[in-house]
């Protein structure tokens, strides 16, 4: 890294000039700063996201431009690696150029200095002592040694030079720091995905972008067991095992085979009293033919398992296909009367058929508990556990899907219990909730029974007839035609209501009634509808003669009518009641092999040692030239340091005072 060179530019060959350029300080500093600036890109632009996200974010033009510049994985882009390689080369050239002289400087006591150059040093002093030269030299030597210096005496023609040095290891600091950079980068290179990129470029491997079962993934996307570096992840449900991990590459993945099989026995999350997660742990069993018996252990965050150089980390968790028992309650006339019980699993897809319609049920998640703010409390910090919930999609034959969220436990509102079901048509929306009232037994039977009666033409017909007759009995001049018309209206109103709620009825009123009659007949129609709905409900209770329905039954009626009124917006022909579950979790493991790690760590140790040697061990040299001057002895002392010139002022003074004191009677020149 020295700037000095005695060769003139014109006489140097190209390779010499290249060597000088690569080892130049200017290049080194430029590269350090260029690397710093280039590194910023990858922190501003989130790396290794799905390519579709980038496409949405930047649009097609910039997306392609950025992709060709390798900006989605900057740190393995060719141009970025080129900077790194140049930096390593530059550092290596520096070490090669300066290393030998540094090593010499570490030990060399510089015995060839002349009186003239000592006199020219910033720090020098001279004095005369009465003792003979040999004694003085011996004393100086022993004093220097006591002060921790390495000493050597060199007889000159008519004088003796005593050379002393401390802190020669400062030069080692230079070597260690610069070699460390090379070592760390080489170790890091071994652990990078560069070999994979190279294999891909050669066409030996192929990145898989499709979501396929393991057995269908082509062999070209699978990596054999070996000593190569990789860092992959895999989700293993409790009770299952895996002998591969998935290595993410750009917008796809590769499958890395492992020489052993990992089974997840159990995954646990522990919580603090405040609800925050306290630990994530997995009980693992490693099956390996090389082991006498399977290895059983527990890993946690910060506590990985190292097996055969493979490190197994607790990285994440997800649902592992929890077993669910569901009751499908029909909400329209077609699906029949009784709930359909069936078992499913999280992530399972199944076709559901009701009448002529069918749709695909896709269960997307299960949560064993939901800690949410309690809507009945003022303070949003008052949270409550709302119990287990499932989320699922219902996909119609045209491919459109509605998203649902159903809670297993009822929620209480104004003292009454409801099943809560949220619906939305896109993840960007908030859930809108349907409240299904529970009957006295705490089930949906009461609601379902009422709903089915409203769909049942025979029942409605009978009730409408009964209602018509009671209504017309109080009217003086009634006839058959009026009765029939009233009956028909009632039937239509109920049909309208179950098909589209109150809003549908309002539309019906507005489109069929003449404008003049709308103001008077409209409200009458609505109260007639409420009356017949109540009659259908009360009639279905089969109460003893003359017994009026209880207050709770009337409240249920009100809630049920509200729920039925919002069913058309709910969009699903059934309500899925979660009756039972068995929670199965999947542990997200990260498995890595990094053969370069010991090399990198070795480099790190070198770097730390080197940095501290370089900054905190100044190299200090002293020379004492001892010359006989008649009966006395003249001493010329000079010193220099390669660090902290300011502090060396005081240091030199103290050393010279010390030496003057101990080398005999002195008289300064």
């Amino acid at each position: 890294m020295s700037e000095t060179n005695n060769l003139s530019v014109s006489r140097k060959s190209f390779s010499q000039r290249l060597f000088l350029f690569l080892g130049s300080m200017d290049l080194a500093i430029t590269l350090l700063l260029a690397l710093a600036v280039a590194s910023i890109i990858g922190t501003v632009l989130q790396q290794n996201q799905p390519y579709s996200d980038y496409l949405i974010k930047f649009g097609p033009f910039w997306f392609e431009l950025f992709e060709s510049a390798g900006l989605y994985d900057v740190y393995s882009a060719i141009w970025f690696l080129s900077i790194l390689v140049l930096l390593v080369t530059s550092t290596s050239v520096c070490v090669i150029r300066n290393g030998p002289s540094m090593v010499r400087d570490m030990w060399n006591l510089r015995t060839h200095v002349q009186r003239k150059s000592l006199r020219a040093m910033r720090h020098n002093t001279a004095w005369t002592v009465g003792s003979p030269a040999e004694d003085t030299v011996t004393k100086l030597e022993s004093n220097f040694s006591k002060l921790g210096f390495r000493v050597k005496q060199t007889p000159k023609t008519d004088e003796v030079l005593v050379s002393a040095m401390r802190g020669g290891m400062n030069r080692l600091g230079y070597l260690l720091t610069h070699l460390a950079i090379v070592v760390i980068c080489l170790g890091g290179l071994m652990d990078s995905n560069l070999p994979l990129k190279f294999a891909e470029w050669q066409g030996r491997i192929n990145i898989e972008t499709r979501d396929l079962p393991l057995s269908q993934i082509p062999a070209k996307s699978k990596l054999a067991v070996g000593s190569q570096a990789f860092r992959g992840s895999v989700n293993i449900p409790e009770g299952q095992s895996s002998s591969v991990v998935f290595v993410a590459m750009r917008d796809g993945y590769l499958v890395q085979n492992l020489p052993f099989k990992v089974e997840v026995k159990d995954f646990r999350i522990e919580h603090y009293a405040t609800g925050q997660p306290k630990s994530f742990e997995s009980d693992l069993v490693v099956y390996d033919d090389d082991l006498a018996e399977p290895l059983t252990t527990t890993i946690a965050v910060n506590h990985p398992l190292i097996h055969k150089g493979y490190a197994i980390y607790q990285a994440s968790f997800s649902d592992g296909g929890s077993a669910l028992s569901l009751d499908a309650w029909p909400l329209d006339g077609q699906a029949g009367n009784e709930p359909l019980s069936f078992d499913s699993k999280v992530f399972e897809r199944r076709m559901m058929h009701w009448g002529d319609n069918s749709s695909q049920l896709e269960i997307t998640s299960f949560r064993p508990f939901n800690i949410n703010p309690d809507p009945t409390e003022e303070d949003p910090n008052n949270v409550r556990n709302f119990g287990p919930s499932i989320e699922f999609k219902l996909r119609s034959n045209t491919g459109e899907a509605q998203e649902y969220q159903n809670y297993m436990l009822p929620v209480t509102r104004n003292g009454r219990d409801f099943y809560l079901s949220g619906v939305r048509s896109s993840p960007a929306d908030e859930f809108g909730y349907l409240y299904l009232p529970l009957d006295k037994q705490g089930g949906l039977t009461g609601f379902s029974h009422f709903l089915q009666r409203l769909y049942d033409k025979k029942v409605v017909d009978e009730i409408a007839r009964e209602m018509t007759s009671t209504t017309l009995n109080s009217v003086a001049n009634s006839d058959e035609k009026l009765a029939q018309s009233l009956h028909d209206t009632l039937m239509t109103l109920v049909e309208m209501f179950v098909a589209g709620g109150f809003s549908n009825v309002t539309v019906f009123i507005e489109t069929t009634l003449p404008e003049a009659e709308r103001a008077t007949l409209g409200p009458a129609y609505l109260s007639m509808l409420r009356e017949i709905l109540a009659r259908v409900y009360v009639n279905g209770l089969y109460l003893p003669e003359q017994q009026p329905p209880s207050e709770s039954e009337l409240l249920f009626l009100q809630d049920a009518v509200d729920a039925i009124g919002s069913l058309p917006r709910y969009g699903s022909p059934v309500y899925f009641e979660l009756t039972d579950y068995e929670h199965v979790e999947a542990s997200g493991l990260q498995i890595a092999q990094s053969p370069g790690k010991p090399i990198v760590y070795f480099g790190c140790a070198m770097l730390i040692m080197g940095v501290f040697l370089l900054f905190y061990l100044p190299q200090r040299r002293f020379w004492a030239l001892v010359k006989v001057n008649g009966s006395q002895t003249d001493i010329l002392l000079a010193g220099m340091s390669n660090r902290n010139p300011r502090e060396f002022d005081g240091y030199f003074e103290q050393i010279s005072d010390e030496l003057k004191l101990t080398s005999g009677n002195s008289s300064p020149h």
Binding site: S39, G148, Y272, Y651
Partner: protein, 385 residues
């Protein structure tokens, strides 16, 4: 030998004091280890030994830090004694409520740091050595209150629940206090060594800014509440990675503020050589040297901290280097100061350009420390605002 080692410093303590001090630290370490022999694990023993060793070393020639360690130790023990096992005493016990409960101690620290800043500047403008000495005393007191606050907070976290307890360097609020303490102690070290108090106000300015932020953070975001550790932070590496990092940050911040003083002096000198700042601020060569010292110290510890971080990452995230934004910014800071040091040590650059560069370096450091947590997402999400 002792005398020689002492030459590094402007004054040395007598050998008797030195040996007494070293002995006291060894004794303190041994007492601690025997008392908690059953509960300490391998790493905790290592940390106690390392701490005792460092304190013995740093205090052997520095009277100020010896008193600091003694006062902080005694008052912290006193506070812990007052707490016994009841956290609610923080509001009822006289000493805790007004002095030593962590929140009270931090408030004292904040007030004292601001006062110290004002006093240092007053001393500078009044050319009053005495006023500046008061500034030094205030800085020592502020730093001591901060450190006591951290010590007591450590105990308080265990009073909340044995599983909640942890060293208070786990979130942005706690490390801001750590930053203020470490920067002030680094400054006090160099103040004594270079026998100049004129830079106090400048360095304290950056500490006062940190204090202002931390007060906002307390009152606006309730950040002072002690939170349990997320699983990723439950590691012995935290105890050494975080403090090592803050020695780096503190030293870089100090270098930048000295850079500001340097530029001011250089500007005033060219305008009015007999003016106040031109004559009261230290010699430019002294400031240049101090700037270099601070950056070298910061660089050494930042290197150590980044490597410790890599070792921790290898245990927690599955790889010693993931190009996570925080890691990458640490590298950027490191590269920046590496370039600075090369310029200075091998190209021999001095003066204004290096001072400007040191000031810019503070902004790079600040982004790595705060900006990454505020604007970028990544694995280091513990320090989010």
């Amino acid at each position: 030998m002792n005398k020689l080692a002492g030459i590094m410093l402007t004054e040395t303590s007598s050998p008797l004091i030195q040996w007494l001090w070293r002995g006291a630290m060894v004794l303190a370490g041994i007492i601690l280890l025997t008392m908690y022999y059953d509960v300490f694990d391998y790493y905790e023993v290592g940390i106690v030994v390392l701490t005792a060793f460092c304190m013995a070393l740093i205090g052997q020639n520095w009277m100020g830090i010896r008193w600091y360690i003694i006062v902080v130790g005694l008052l912290s023990l006193f506070a812990i004694q007052r707490y016994a096992n009841d956290l609610t005493l923080a509001n009822s016990d006289f000493f805790l409520n007004y002095m030593l409960a962590s929140q009270s101690a931090f408030m004292w620290m904040s007030a004292l740091f601001v006062m110290a800043t004002v006093t240092y500047f007053a001393g500078l403008f009044l050319r009053s050595e005495f006023t500046q000495k008061i500034g030094t005393a205030l800085t020592w007191s502020a730093s001591a209150m901060g450190m006591i606050g951290l010590m007591v907070r450590w105990k308080e976290s265990y009073l909340i629940g044995p599983d909640v307890g942890h060293i208070p360097v786990s979130n942005l609020y706690e490390v801001f206090i750590l930053f203020a303490i470490i920067t002030s102690i680094l400054y006090l070290f160099y103040e004594r060594r270079y026998q100049t108090r004129a830079l106090g106000g400048f360095v304290l300015l950056v500490i006062s800014s940190a204090v202002a932020f931390q007060l906002w953070y307390t009152f606006e975001r309730q950040a002072h509440e002690i939170q349990p550790l997320v699983p990723a932070l439950q590691s012995y590496w935290m105890k050494i990675h975080v403090p090592a990092n803050f020695v780096g940050y503190g030293a870089f911040a100090m270098a930048a503020m000295i850079g500001v003083a340097y530029l001011l002096k250089s500007w005033r000198q060219s305008v009015n050589p007999q003016g106040l700042l031109a004559t009261t601020l230290p010699d430019k060569a002294v400031m240049d040297d101090l700037m270099y010292k601070a950056i070298a110290l910061g660089f050494a510890f930042f290197t150590l901290a980044t490597i410790l971080g890599a070792l921790w990452a290898a245990e927690a995230w599955g790889g010693y280097w993931s190009w996570d934004p925080k890691e990458t910014w640490a590298l950027i800071v490191w590269l920046n100061y590496a370039a600075w040091l090369h310029m200075r040590m091998t190209k021999g650059w001095h003066g204004r350009p290096m001072a400007w560069w040191a000031v810019i370096g503070l902004f790079v450091t600040l982004f790595a420390f705060l900006g990454v947590n505020m604007f970028l997402s990544g694995l280091h999400s513990y320090g989010t605002l």
